[in-house]
Every structure is written in C-alpha cells, then in structure tokens.
Symmetry: C2
Subunit: 260 residues, 2 copies
C-alpha cells in the first residue's frame, strides 16, 4: 500500500474575527497534482494506494468521481498552526511514501493591533521611566499593553500597527517523522532571476531534505501559462508549462524517484 | 430606466505580492441580492432596468442565464482604493436609483513591514539624538526607514511589525454624488448585543445617509441560517433568516421605499 500526502491552498490567519491575513495561493496546482496521481494509478491499473489531501478553506476543490472517492481522504485546515498539528499527527501515524507539499503556509501569525498614537505614547512613557533601551522597545513592539483586546474588532479611527510573530515551520516535520518519505517542496518567489530561484530552491531542499523542489516566480503562476522549474539534486530536470503539465511532471518524476 | 448598483465581496490589500490582507466576506449575500432584483423585475415583467454589479476577485459568482445577461454589467475591483475609484466614477456618470452596498471594504491598507529588531533600533537611535518625543515616535511608527522595500518579499527570519493606514471611506461618496439614490448599507459586528447592533447601524445610517441598513453579527452569517435585522428610520422593519430571504426582503423593502 502506497500512502501519498498532498497539501494545497493558502492558509488564513485570523486577525479580529472579520479581517484576516492570507496569500495568493488558490490550491489549483495541488488539485492538479491529486488528479495526476489518480490518473497515474488508474493508467497502471493499480489500487494499492491512497491519498491524504490536506486543504485550506479557500483551496480549489472539485467533486471526485465515484470511482476516485475511495482513494482520497480529506483533512481540512485553517491557519498555520492547524496545518502544523495536522501534518505532525499525520506523519507520526501514517508512513507516508510520497509527500507533495504545495500549500502556501503563512510565515507569520497575528499577535496584536494597536493605534499608532497609543503605541507611541506607551513607548515614550516607558522610555522616560526606564531610559532609552532597545530591549524595552522590542518588548513593547512585540506585546504592547495598549493593544486592542483579542477578537475585539479594530477601530478604523486611527492608523494602526500590527504585530506578527513567526509560525512554526511545517516542512521540517515531514522528514523528521518519516525519514523515508519522498518529499516534494515548492518555492514561490517574486522578481528574481532564474539563478536566484535555483539558489533558493536548493537551499530549501538542503535545509528540509526535499527530494525535489518545484520553483516558480509569482508573475508566472496563471492557470494556463504557469511555468517554473523542477529541481532534483541541484539540477533542473524539467521546465513544465501549465498547471496540468507541471502536476503530471512532478508526479511522474516523483514516482520514478522511488521506483528506479 | 432604473439603475441599480450592487457591490459584493471582500477587498484584498496587497502586502508584498504574495501575502494579502482580506476579510471573511464571500460575496454570497450580494449575489442573492442580484438574483432577488432580477426575479423581482421578471415577475413584474419589467425590462426598464439595469444592474451594475461591482465585485471583488474572490466574490462568489455564478453564470447568468441568457435572458438575464443583458440586464447586468460587471465591474471588477481589487483593493479599497480601486473600489473608491470605481464607485466614484460610477455614481458621477450614472444616476443610480438604488444602491445595495454589501461589499466589505478594508478600513486599512498596507504601508510597510519591518523587523521588530530593526524598528526598535531605529526608534532608540532617533530618541537618543532627539530626546523622547511622541511625535517623532508616531512618525517612525507610520514610516520607518528600516522598512522592507515596496514589494520586496518579507523575510520570515524575525518577528515583524506592519504599519497600516486608513483607506478612504467609499459609502459617503454615493449620496454626495447622487443625493436621490436609495442607499442600503450593511454593518457586520462581532460579539455585540442587538441593542448595540442597532445603535451602530443607526449611526452608520445617519453618518452616510443610508435609507436602510442591514445589520448582522459575525457568528450568524452562515449560508443557511444567516440572520440579522433590517433597519429603516431607526426602526427594525424585518428579521429575515437565510441569505435568500434576507436578499428578497432587502430588495422588496427597497423598491417599496421609492414606489410608495
């Protein structure tokens, strides 16, 4: 039995119950990867597999055919923390053979919002008492007293400052829990040369033990002409164009990666 | 000829080309209002109307029937500024009879992101030179030198602070440009009593000359059991339940508002 995990879509960090921090990811590429996996096994007439599809609320999703349904299990997530928990639990309980990690997970989560006037006043009155001290200012910028209460809707009367803290990285968990998983990572950058894209992708691969990385640039991710480079062991092994072809290439090279 | 404008969906403020600030609005209620308007005129066998439907990228949208298409014109918008420009232009060029303003427009737009360490350093070094001065700190919190460049992807190495500035309010423009428009406003609040909801809705109505306001609470906006109160001249005139009934009630009361 082969276990294949796919993550898809963009996470959403709650700000005040109405506003949220999201990203441009649609989940389309992840869905194409699911379809490419299902097609691959259907063509090979193999039924000894299942897909665990982890998706966010806004991720693209279609109805599966009755034939496909028994092979796919869905796990819904919302924010970065919920993805971390879901992936950690999944990879601790299921020996995943292939992991396509296409979800765009927020690097930051909301900690507070505060009126600029309130925060400036708080900083000044602290510094008057304590002297000009960088650590004091860092603490105030990370956790001001004058912040809006949790889930209080933020007033639109003043300009505001928002504090954001880093989220726990999800990708390192995958190989930590299952060193034998074949891991496909994704990197989306903006306004970079191909050389820079390759450098960053290789860095990602090394740091998180990705077996393959699909790297792309944000101006080239539309449905029809989405293009990017597939990198394995530091080398470009394919330059697929269009989400369907990208997904098929990833799945083909990934399965070859274990079979060969 | 009756001109009816509807705005729908939630705006999206760009942060760095990948991340964005959005809100929970789906645009479903706006779409139901469009359908209620089309149904109303079909039932009355009237063709002397058109709808201008202003919607955001993520707003819910269905295919219209061939019969409906000639009556609806779509205008696409993205962030708060683009909504302001579109509504200002529309209401200056078209004498709108009814305006259903259901779009959730961000009160804030992104101005900068900065590492907390960099910002703390900048504040301290400024204050050492200039003395502890609140205005200096406000200026730094609104426009720090140490900020990430525009559209530079924000590094996930440090916790960050984001500066957000208020956007121009769209709703006052509607009556300023067309004092005779019948304006329906919407208010979404969180964790408030019905009395508070009514107070805030009345305040909105007064400030922006809304002829009717639909007020609702964020825990009660699901598709099937969406509920809220429709307020006219400070009085609750209906308590519809479900998006379809809410939309039908709004449209019926709105058209009665001019016809009577």
């Amino acid at each position: 039995m082969l276990n294949i995990a796919i993550t898809a879509g963009g996470t959403s960090e709650n700000i005040d119950g109405v506003r949220k921090l999201t990203n441009v990811s649609t989940g389309n590429l992840g869905w194409h990867c699911l379809e490419a996996v299902l097609d691959y096994f259907e063509t090979k007439k193999r039924t000894d597999f299942r897909v665990i599809y982890v998706l966010t609320e806004t991720a693209y999703r279609k109805e599966l055919s009755e034939k496909q349904k028994p092979f796919v299990e869905f796990i819904s997530v919302t924010d970065a923390e919920s993805v971390y928990d879901a992936v950690d639990k999944l990879t601790k309980t299921v020996p995943i053979d292939y992991f396509i990690h296409s979800m765009a997970i927020s690097d930051f989560t909301f900690t507070y919002a505060v009126s600029v006037y309130e925060l400036a006043q708080e900083i000044c009155s602290s510094l008057v008492h304590l002297g000009t001290d960088e650590l004091t200012v860092i603490e105030l910028l990370e956790n001001p007293m004058s912040r809006y209460n949790v889930n209080e809707k933020i007033s639109s009367d003043d300009n505001i400052v928002m504090g954001l803290k880093r989220t726990k990285k999800v990708i390192p968990v995958i190989k930590q829990n299952n060193p034998n998983t074949f891991l496909v990572g994704f990197k989306l950058l903006k306004d970079v040369s191909e050389d820079e894209l390759i450098n960053v992708a290789n860095h990602l691969a090394e740091k998180n033990e990705c077996d393959m990385v699909f790297a792309n640039e944000v101006s080239r991710i539309a449905e029809r002409n989405h293009s990017g480079i597939l990198i394995k062991s530091g080398e470009i092994i394919a330059r697929p164009v269009g989400k369907k072809q990208i997904a098929e290439t990833i799945v083909r090279e990934m399965i070859k990666g274990i079979e060969s």
